[in-house]
């Protein structure tokens, strides 16, 4: 039972990272119906950028006091901005020209971009895993037999916090309204005076920035990274987005936490060798039996 509760905690914090990535997936799919395959690699790029910023700041170990807050905020914001810009560049280069092409064309360029990013990261830090400094001090919280690390709390709080901010942005602001209008009907939105290109670029900026935040958090959480990290994490986050109902922000968050829990429980009950297999099986089953996801509404196919 204690072990179960412990895995529950681990699963939730793991799920927080997936949830942050899934938010970006779901936003981008929501607006241009493209599975942005490079999204997982933007997330890894977030970890790489965070590492570069920490090196620039001269941080190599645990930071305490008010300095910690500054370091965390500066690093995370820096990674978010850089990743956001990367996302905008990717959209401009690889997707915009193909906006009216058949659906599979941009998907193929997305796979291409993913390979390009992975290779560039491999050039940057080499093919082996690289260590990430443990920035956050680790006074664990003990609740009975369950141990909760500070960074685990950080992940969950950050994921939920960012989702709330994002929801407020999408549903309460003019720009968010423009995004929803573009997602609903691009041509009609354009006729209403919405600048489609800017709105889509903005979506990529925000989605990729969230992946950047997830990248920073995952660096802190795992204490290491490598160039290929984004492939598996991206797939799991996509599974999370589909599970929650693609295009639905709350759904992405819920899906992320569920996938984290499923992965942690598989590790606990079967073995971690099978966790990928189980997660992908979940994806296949969801797509077959409930393609609209847990919170999504089913839409008739557009003709």
């Amino acid at each position: 039972m204690d072990l179960f509760l412990q895995q529950l905690v681990n699963g939730l914090s793991l799920g927080g990272i997936y949830a942050l990535i899934a938010l970006g997936y779901t936003m981008i799919y929501g607006i241009i119906e493209l599975i942005n395959f490079a999204h997982g690699d933007v997330y890894t790029l977030g970890t790489f950028f965070s590492l570069a910023i920490l090196t620039l700041l001269g941080v190599t170990g645990i930071v305490t006091g008010p300095l910690l807050v500054v370091v965390v905020i500066v690093t995370m914001l820096g990674a978010m901005i850089l990743c956001g810009l990367t996302g905008v560049v990717i959209e401009r280069l690889a997707y915009r020209r193909l906006r009216n092409a058949p659906r599979l064309a941009p998907l193929i360029t997305a796979i291409g971009m993913s390979f390009i990013l992975e290779n560039l990261m491999q050039y940057w830090h080499g093919p082996s895993p690289i260590p990430f400094p443990q920035v956050i001090p680790n006074p664990d919280v003990h609740l009975g037999a369950v141990t909760i690390a500070t960074k685990q709390i950080l992940v969950v709080v950050l994921a939920i916090g960012l989702m709330i901010v994002l929801r407020a942005f999408v549903y309460r602001t003019k720009l968010g309204q423009a995004m929803r209008a573009t997602a609903q009907d691009r041509d009609a939105a354009q006729l209403m005076g919405i600048d489609i290109n800017t709105t889509i670029a903005l979506t990529f900026l925000i989605g990729s920035a969230l992946a950047g935040a997830a990248g920073f958090v995952s660096g802190v959480y795992y204490g290491s990274t490598w160039f290929f990290n984004g492939f598996g994490a991206g797939l799991k986050a996509f599974t999370a987005a589909v599970l929650g109902g693609i295009g639905n922000l709350t759904g992405a968050m819920l899906g992320g936490f569920l996938i984290g829990l499923i992965e942690a429980m598989t590790t606990q009950l079967i073995s971690d060798q099978w966790s990928n297999v189980v997660v992908f099986s979940v994806l296949v089953l969801v797509l077959i039996f409930r393609p609209s996801g847990l919170l999504g509404e089913s839409l008739p196919a557009k003709v």
Partner: protein
Amino acid sequence: MRRLQPYLLFGAAIVLPLIFSNGGFVNFLADAGAFVLLALGLNIVVGFAGLLDLGYAAFFAIGSYTFAMLASPQFGIHIPFWVMLFLASGVAAVFGILLGAPTLRLRGDYLAIVTLGFGEIVPQTFLNLSQWTGGPNGIGSLDQPAIFGYRFGFQALPYYYLILGLIGVAVLAANNLRASRLGRAWMAIREDELAAAHAGINTTVTKLSAFAIGASFSGLAGCAYASKLQLVSPDQFGFNVSVAVLSMLVLGGMGNIPGVIVGSLVISSLDRFILPQLTNFMHGFGVAIDLTNSRFLIYGVILVLTMLFRPEGLIPSRQRRSELHAAGDAALAEQTLYTEAVP
């Protein structure tokens, strides 16, 4: 003359290793041939039927492992190679149907992701079931094919001819299928599934047959490749193999058999000759970049640039070329590419 071209090229392929009989080169030809076979199979699924399969390497893995488990000391079973060719492609086809059946209702991009998931699950499963598959070490010392008492041994040449023969069969099969009722149904589904269904095409059977036939080609390739390598291991069948084969299709021209063959030969020689040569060339200028590591960067660049600037590939089919010339408009050209209607 045009009709003779394929036979002349096939003849050239037969004498080629006799002229350039360097062992390394023949070995390269045999490996490249296995990828031509894979590309021809994926072409049926992606090029003809317009179903984007990102886990095609899974069927390659299934074909290879079928051969490895039933023709090696692993279980002491030694079924003759020529029987295994049929068996392996049959098993791969069955898995093609197993994958296809539940996913047929999915839209194009969801299907892509599910096949990708499948492509990840299969090698992982082979890795995990180590009591049967040898886990990360795989299965070694596989049986060598033999014909009329002649054992293929360790030289690449007989395997090259084996693979060339399989390619010949595959090209004939693919070409005849393309013109058949089934092939025309595939293309109708590719262009507009809804219209195809309303024209009386049974989309379920048609799509399933594309999956099954495409998978059976990679079963053949897997069987031949495994017997040549004398070894299978789970790391030979990752996502990068699926994407490599997809790049061959995209580069050469999806749906066009000569294009697909050229595309896969170009990419194979890129790997084997051009990148090492370029690396040496750069070293000559004091630039120490090892381009052989950037294979996947180059696949990525090929995918992006081809889709952006020449979505019909290097050698598009005559049909598509005429469509392009008739339209004379890049936007229209992109729309006739394949699959679903523009949203």
